[in-house]
């Protein structure tokens, strides 16, 4: 797959879309389950942690300009580590995409296509994603830029539409389930910023690697602001006990809004844009999987692998037999896998790489001194 050089805005869109899709579906629910009516504090707290984490990553990447996490892994542990990290990230992309695809298809199935089997709905998304990957990564990135903009506007409109029904009493008690839940258990909600996974791979794709810092900061700030606003608008609109319904909280909140007398149930319109967003998201996940595969196997053209990853996604999305299995995958496996991979393993590799880098530098300096 030819690597397309992306600009600043395109790169930001790539990172943001990963978070937005989870936000639209199940992310707020997890925050409410953790912190109750203090979910918004938890969101701000997690956002702050994400920012700190971001600055550490930027600092660690400073010595590895133009490299992605695979190159850094190769630097640390050679091909073995590179392959292990590569396959872990492929598994991660497959996992998050299949979980989200299943969740969204299930919602669509419940709302509109009761008579159509879910596997057909999933196939539709995958076929589109496959087509996108066959056309090329540059096209996916360009399309994502447009769709991310639309979805950001769409969510912005949601906040405004829900504003009239805000009930500020909903945020009380202010600490919800308690400080421990917010700041200790709630810290695991950092997985909401899974867009970091894109940041690890985007550096070689950039037109100018000097822009990396700006891209990273902007994308995480936008993601964080939307996360906080989404949770706040949900919390202020109705009680945090939204888990009673088996649908996306964002869908439910849109369902209660009215746009004058004419548009009393505008949720389908919002769903329309979220469908586009999910198509883009699945395409991106397959694209990154193909790119990683290409890098670890040194294949010349990895586009053919799009068929394999699409099939893998399809079967992955069909694995959960019931809602409890599906919830387990979403709430536990996905959550902890992303935390371990993105925030521990990758970070660990970056730290080790920096240590190795400094040791090498010191050796070189020592040799120079000896020569003198």
């Amino acid at each position: 797959m030819d690597l397309y050089k992306v600009g600043k805005i395109e790169a930001i869109a790539l990172v943001v879309i990963v978070m937005l899709n989870h936000l639209v579906l199940n992310l707020p629910k997890i925050f409410f389950n953790t912190a109750g009516c203090a979910a918004w504090i938890n969101a701000i707290f997690v956002f702050a942690i994400a920012l700190i984490f971001l600055f550490i990553i930027l600092k660690l990447f400073k010595n590895f300009n133009g490299m992605d996490i695979l190159d850094v892994s190769y630097f640390v542990g050679g091909n073995t580590l590179k392959n292990i990290i590569g396959f872990l990230f492929i598994a991660f992309f497959m996992l998050i995409a299949s979980a989200l695809l299943r969740d969204f298809s299930r919602s669509l199935n419940i709302i509109y296509f009761r008579n159509i089997p879910i596997y057909l709905v999933i196939i539709v998304f995958l076929l589109v994603a496959l087509l996108a990957n066959r056309i090329g990564s540059n096209v996916i990135i360009k399309t994502t830029t447009i769709i991310t903009t639309i979805v950001l506007i769409n969510l912005g409109v949601t906040f405004f539409l829900t504003a009239p029904q805000f009930e500020f009493n909903n945020i009380f008690p202010i600490l919800g389930k308690g400080a421990k839940e917010i700041f200790l258990s709630g810290s695991t909600n950092i997985f909401a910023f899974s867009g970091f996974c894109v940041l690890y791979f985007i550096m070689p794709m950039l037109k100018s690697s000097k822009e990396f810092n700006k891209i990273a900061i902007w994308s995480i700030v936008i993601s964080g602001i939307y996360l906080v606003f989404c949770i706040l608008s949900l919390l202020l609109s109705f009680s945090y006990v939204v888990d009673a319904y088996d649908l996306s909280p964002m869908y439910l909140i849109i369902r209660t809004t009215q746009f004058g007398k004419f548009l009393q149930r505008p949720e389908s319109l919002f769903m329309f844009f979220w469908i586009l967003s999910l198509m883009s998201y699945v395409s991106i996940c397959i694209m990154f999987s193909c790119n990683i595969f290409q890098k670890i196997t040194n294949t010349r053209k990895s586009q053919v692998m799009a068929y394999f990853f699409t099939s893998l996604l399809y079967f992955g999305a069909l694995i959960p037999r019931n809602i409890s299995q599906f919830k387990f995958i979403e709430d536990v496996i996905y959550k902890y896998f992303s935390i371990i991979l993105i925030f521990f393993i990758s970070m660990g590799i970056l730290i080790l790489a920096n240590l190795k880098y400094h040791r090498k530098n010191m050796k070189l300096e020592g040799r120079k001194l000896n020569e003198k």
Partner: protein, 592 residues
Amino acid sequence: MEALKNFFKNFFNYENDDKLYHFEIPETQEEKDAFDNSNGSSGNNSNSSNLTGSQDQQDSKTKSEPTNVFPSLNINLEFMKAKYNTSINSDIVIREFTLTARNKQFSAFLMYIDGMVDSKMINDFVLQPLMLKNRANLFDGEQSKVVSEAVTNNITVRKVKRFDLVDYIFNSLMPQNSVEKVNKFEEVCIGINAGNCVLFIDTIPTVFNIEVKGFKQRSVEKPENEMVIRGSQEGFTEVIRTNTSLIRKCINNENLIIESTNVGKLSRTPCAICYINGIANDALVNEVKNRVNNLDIDYLTSSGQLEQLIEDNGNISLPQLIATERPDKASNFLMEGRVVIIVNGSPYSLVAPATFMDFITSPEDTNLKYQFANMLKILRVLAVFIALLLPGFYIAITSFHQELIPTELLFSIVASRESVPFPILFEILMMEISFELIREAGLRAPSTIGPTVGIIGAIIIGQAAVDANLVSPLLIIIIAITGLASFAITDFSFSFYCRLLRFVYILLGYFMGFLGICIGLFVQLLIICNLKSFGAPYLQPYVPVTTNYRGLLFSPAWKRENRADFLNVKRQKRQGKISMKWKNSNNVDNGG
């Protein structure tokens, strides 16, 4: 008894005459020979062989043909007669006469195509000076002309220029502004085909190609399909020189380059590639030239045909070049750094590269204040979406997403559809096809009854269809709004694209609701994002994001300081930082 039986059999039975005339165009030489044998040799055998012979034969024939003009007039005459099939070609004129030069007489002939030349011009400025015995051609002076003379040691050294008949005729007997000396038959034929007359003279292996074009042509009229209120009211015509002069009139600059080229092996259609030297990117100009000059086609008749031959992706129905019949619009694009292609015989010029934004921009926009222009542009974007999606949305909402419709309206829709016996897909397709039929009939019908067809179609058939419970009244409104929206799109090709895709969205909306429409939109976005027109991404300046170019909205006239970024022009600035210098009294140039 047998005779009686045969009589009745023949009486009731009809037998086909096996010797019925049967014709098929022969494809191979064997077929052709068989056809000739069965029909006997025809009188025009030599002529038909040119058309039906294989390519190799034609090539070998071309190779065996003489290339240079002969000194003998008779040989030249016979050759040209054969070349142009003068025995059957009625409009080829050969005028044989005796030319007088330096009081000597030479046999000569003129050859031209009737209807393509100006006869008066030939009479007054070609035949008269050559045939009439006046002082110029009767003068029998020195045969050699002394150019210079010098005397050294009582020896006179003269530099003499020998008398040359060709030069003499060219310089003294041809009161024409455009005469060319050629000596190859190919060049002679090009001249004749282009509407010139050629002069062959005995004993001279040179032919004079005299420009006496005199086609009957349409005068410069209002553009038919790109009308504006405040802009220029001149449109391109079918004649390439008129069109280039119209552009020259708009751009008074010597850097405007108009390069000529011929496209088509047989038609050799004159084309012009126009650009502004010092602004247009060299690579872009070369790419256009490369594509136009590398077309292996027999003939080219219109710019529409050329557009399809040089666009980046022929399988995508989106227009990838701008077609305009307005010289001012073409000039604006040239000044921006784009390349304009003009084809002789077509009143539409092509502009490369094209982006999506160009198709929702009207030539009127530059004449309007930016606020008005922006309002119109937003309206056109809305029109694109309506023309593309409205029927699809209607069908998706009524089939899958009824909750979007207010309850009262939903009741009214249900009530109006109650008496309609068809499924909604059939109903909407029927109306869409009817609308397209009305539009097509209105376009093809003679201009006097064209509008009537539209009115009859729109009002009477629509009303009758509702009365007959074939369609619901709401659907008529939907189709009418969609039709209006498609008319609001400025570019004809782009409007066509929307009309075509509308049917796809109707089907997708019917089968999968919003999910189907999303699939369509996503795939369409992929295609558009992948598309490039002469190296320029189609969705510029938004994807990829670039600066320095007007996007959807116009900035005020004084703020349009730079040329399009994606064109990578040589001269980025198109006006000063502060273009309205009169506002700053210190910088005012009083013209003194």
